[in-house]
Amino acid sequence: MPFFTPSEDPGSNFPDLLKRIGLDPSARPIEGKLLADDLGVPHATTCVALRYDGGVVMAGDRRATSGNLISHRTMEKVVQADRHSGVAIAGSAGPAMEMVKLFQLQLEHYEKVEGSSLSLEGKANQLSAMVRGNLPAAMQGMVVVPIFAGYDLLRSTGRLWDFDATGGRYEERNHVATGSGSLHASTVIKVGFTTDLTRDAAIDLAATALWEAADADSATGGPDALRGIYPVVAWIDSDGWERVTDSDLAERYGRIIDAVSERVVGS
């Protein structure tokens, strides 16, 4: 059981606790010239987040690729961070998953030790520090660029942030996209976005954005009706995180497919 003198106490900081007992995951220096591409490290792709009138919607496709191979079809890149926030990741899957795991743990650890949750801004800051800590790995090609979104209970509104590989933290007003298909996805959202979007419309817009990204970017996976694999779509409002069910998504994608086929083939 870890016990510290007052001057060495890591407080409510879990990564600092790991460091103090010699388990710091980022402490291992990576030497040599091996790059992520040579290692065949799986890569996660497109994720989006957008605001609606009562919170935020987050969505991400399920595909992970290594070079031109599909390495996983069911990866979950949009995950709940705690009750009122979620994180979506694009980039090298291994370090990203580890980062998310540590991030979730840190939020819960803080909440238990302090007896109250971190503010949403505090959570975004914490994630920014973790992305910055990954910089040495990023320089070898293992870049992790997350999106962080949540419902700010102090301000009663949804908020979202994106990050760059150096830990730069940018709050976006309405929508954000990351990953290889982000150009297509964010264009769809940009065109379809209005400030009075309802939750239902926001979910539809996110699903359409992922459809268009998958249509134009080979690394982004579309809905896979054959295997029953659909993107992860979730919303966060004052009641917390809720995931859209696969059957609901199957219905929405059915409508999107009809609309697209009408557009490209004609009825």
Partner: protein
Amino acid sequence: MSMPFYVAPEQMMKDRADYARKGIARGRALVAMRYQDGIAIVAENASETLRKVSEIYDRIAFAGVGKYNEFDQLRVAGIRSADLKGFQYSRDDVDARSLANSYAQMLGNIFTHEMKPMEVEILVAEVGREPDADQMFHILYDGTVVDERDHAALGGDAEAIRTRLTENWSEGLDLAGVVAVGVAALSGDEREIPAGDLEVAELCRGNGRRCFHRLSEADVLALLPPS
């Protein structure tokens, strides 16, 4: 050269134990009881902010009586130990028994080696997936571990409270029933504890991953029989 007085080891241990017991007896008590959905912990605590009962891990709660700063230190150490174990292995590998053993080691060490023993008594409770697997460990200031089956009483006047619990507690109570038993056991016949001085928390099997739930004052008022 002056020689320190010889003190027999028996006497030294007895003095330390008396010291710790006196400190603990000054504080107010708490009880923990099994009920149909898990484990309920009821504490008499005038403070709204300095908690006696708190969450350690998904299925594990901590409760302490005695000196606040000392059991709070133990609480934080327990959260760290549990979170580290869950991080290194898996969430399923974190259990109350090993946590209770670590606490016992630590308290035992402090009792024999430090200037003063910790004036605390703590409880580590774990709600099982089935009622049979519910566990409660009561750990004393000197590291003694007591494995409690149905209910536990910690703090000042614990003997009398335990007797009242044994009389009134029964298998299969619901939350309201078990809280009423706990409050009656804490207060005895002579006095009444106002709802604002009660700290109530439960480890509820149906709460999802994190079973710990702290009841607000309004929740407690709604549970207690109207007086």
